[in-house]
Amino acid sequence: MTEKQRYDKVFMETFNLDEKDLNDTLIYDQVSGWDSVGHMSMMAALETEFDIMMETEDIIDFSSYKKGLEILEKYGVHAGCPLPTA
């Protein structure tokens, strides 16, 4: 499995989502289950999945599916496509 697939799997399993739900509109508090409790579970799941330990700043900054891809880059997880340059 690629890192992107593993990242997606964590989202789908934590929030009971389908692959089609994984997009830029997937943000904190806008999907059932992604509340503070869900957030904690997902952070734990991501840390286990990628064997990383996330910093506080990153945990509270992790506000969307898209933002998460950016944050994980810092930990050497290349799950996202390179962001288009402006």
Partner: protein, 487 residues
């Protein structure tokens, strides 16, 4: 003929500090600080509450779909000041549940965010401000007891029709006791972590309003950057949370955050593990922050006990002692008082914050005080020889495994100590452990079997993605079953 007992109690509570009647005396001091930086003074909120109250008929029942926002609180205070009973529900409560509660309790008014008003399109709008609307649901008077002030849900937002009936005296008394226990001061600024429809959350607000202190209103969770930005920019001095809040704080490595204004942390709403209490106690001691562990229930308005910060280090599993004005004792199965230390019995509390009783429908609102100030908590506790109380279990949450009484809380606690995140439920002869780590399914069963020494057949484990909790972080045991089917 007027009830003599009631007249006496009325005189008693008039003497007590009724914070909601005296808001104006704090004048220009900030009462509510909003997320956008706006401040509402005590004079402001008194005027707004009375504006609101002027639209209520005498003795009307109002249902509020509440959030930690100014209009919700103004409505709540307006009802209290006009002596109109109020039912607090979560703003996010499901439409169908609102409809069924309206059917059961027939409130005269509903104060709700305008985006929820569509549910009640047949209702006439009587007043609106700050994004909230007051709808007239019914003109028909509901007979209610004269002391009834507040109806608080026993289950958060699950929509159970069961509510605790709290009196004006209960609210005033508990707020005053909390102020005294924690030494809340006028310069304090509490930030909201818990929702106001939850008794503990509401008690944070009431106790701070009693002293002319400020409440920083937010619905952001600890997981959001805006919560921490607000906490820092508004220099919050106090934060109150449930066990789950403290797990989050630990996870966020809170000791590394720069929070110079924070002077007090309080924990209630369930048992925080002794190890975590000790960890927080020593971290707080090092930082000069007061850490209070408290114990309470909706049936006692909000809080009954507090553990002094220095004792959190030496007696981390204790709930401490009764709050000022309250009293504890233990009773054995036959109802006799347990006098020896270290002997468990049911914890009984006596105090003027013990609520009147329950309600399940409008007809129950006329009922008076059914408890006489005494609450059988349903918790099993013991007392040490220095007078500190320790909760050792729950009287009712147990199953029998092949004839042996097994306390579900105990099993949960033992599994937690073994680093197995889980919640336990079950029926007689089959205790189910719901674990969040799929890899621990077998381990959980063998561990539970081992520590209890009971047949393995009495246990099973299932994997669930996460433990269902309400907004206050309490485990929703009723929702456990069936979860594993969808995972």
């Amino acid at each position: 003929m007027p009830d003599v007992r009631f007249r006496r109690r009325k005189a008693e509570f008039k003497q007590a500090m009724t914070f909601y009647e005296n808001l104006g005396r704090f004048g220009q001091a900030p009462a509510f600080i909003l997320e956008n930086g706006e401040t509402l003074t005590y004079e402001n909120i008194e005027a707004s509450a009375d504006d609101f109250g002027a639209h209520l008929k005498r003795g009307a029942l109002t249902m509020i779909l509440a959030d930690n926002c100014a209009p919700s609180l103004i409505g709540y205070l307006g009802c209290l000041r006009s002596k109109c009973p109020v039912m607090l529900l979560a703003r996010t409560i499901d439409d169908r549940l609102v409809a069924s509660l309206i059917g059961l309790y027939r409130p005269n008014y509903i104060w709700l965010p305008e985006e929820r008003a569509h549910v009640l399109s047949r209702c006439e709008k009587r007043y609106a401000t700050g994004g909230y609307e007051l709808l007239l649901n019914s003109d028909e008077a509901v007979s209610m007891h004269v002391e009834l002030a507040l109806l608080m849900s026993t289950s958060g937002s699950t929509g159970s029709p069961k509510f605790v009936r709290q009196s004006y005296g209960n609210i005033a008394s508990n707020a005053a006791s909390i102020v005294q226990s924690l030494d809340i001061r006028g310069e304090d600024r509490a930030i909201t972590v818990l929702p106001m429809h939850y008794v503990y959350g509401l008690s944070v607000i009431n106790s701070h309003l009693s002293m002319g202190a400020a409440v920083i209103l937010t619905d952001a969770s600890l997981m959001e950057k805006r919560f921490w930005n607000l906490m820092k920019s508004q220099r919050a001095t106090s934060l109150s949370g449930v066990p789950y809040t403290f797990e989050v704080l630990k996870r966020l490595k809170w000791t590394r955050m720069d929070l110079p204004s924070l002077r007090m942390l309080t924990q209630a709403g369930g048992k925080l593990s002794a190890a975590l209490v000790q960890e927080f106690a020593s971290q707080c001691l090092a930082k000069g922050i007061l850490f209070y562990v408290m114990y309470g229930a909706a049936e006692a308005t909000a809080r009954m006990a507090y553990l002094l910060p220095h004792l959190a280090l030496t007696k981390p599993a204790s709930i401490g002692m009764a709050i000022p004005g309250g009293e504890f004792w233990l009773e054995d199965d036959s109802g006799s008082v347990v006098t020896d230390p270290e002997v468990a019995g049911e914890l009984v509390y006596k105090g003027s914050n013990v609520a009147l009783g329950y309600a399940q429908c409008a007809e129950d609102l006329v009922l008076g005080d059914e408890r006489g100030g005494i609450l059988m908590t349903g918790d099993l506790a013991k007392r040490d020889n220095e007078g500190a109380y320790f909760i050792v279990g729950r009287k009712s949450r147990f199953v029998k495994i092949y004839g042996n009484r097994v306390n579900l809380e105990d099993v949960e606690a033992l599994l937690h100590e073994a680093n197995i995140e889980c919640a336990c439920a079950g029926i007689d002869d089959l205790l189910t452990i719901y674990v969040t780590d799929r890899a621990q399914v077998h381990l959980a069963v063998s561990f539970a079997q081992q520590v209890t020494g009971l047949p393995r057949k009495g246990f099973r484990a299932e994997h669930i993605n996460r433990i269902p909790r309400n907004e206050a972080g309490k485990i929703l045991y009723a929702n456990l079953e069936g979860l594993s089917w969808t995972s």
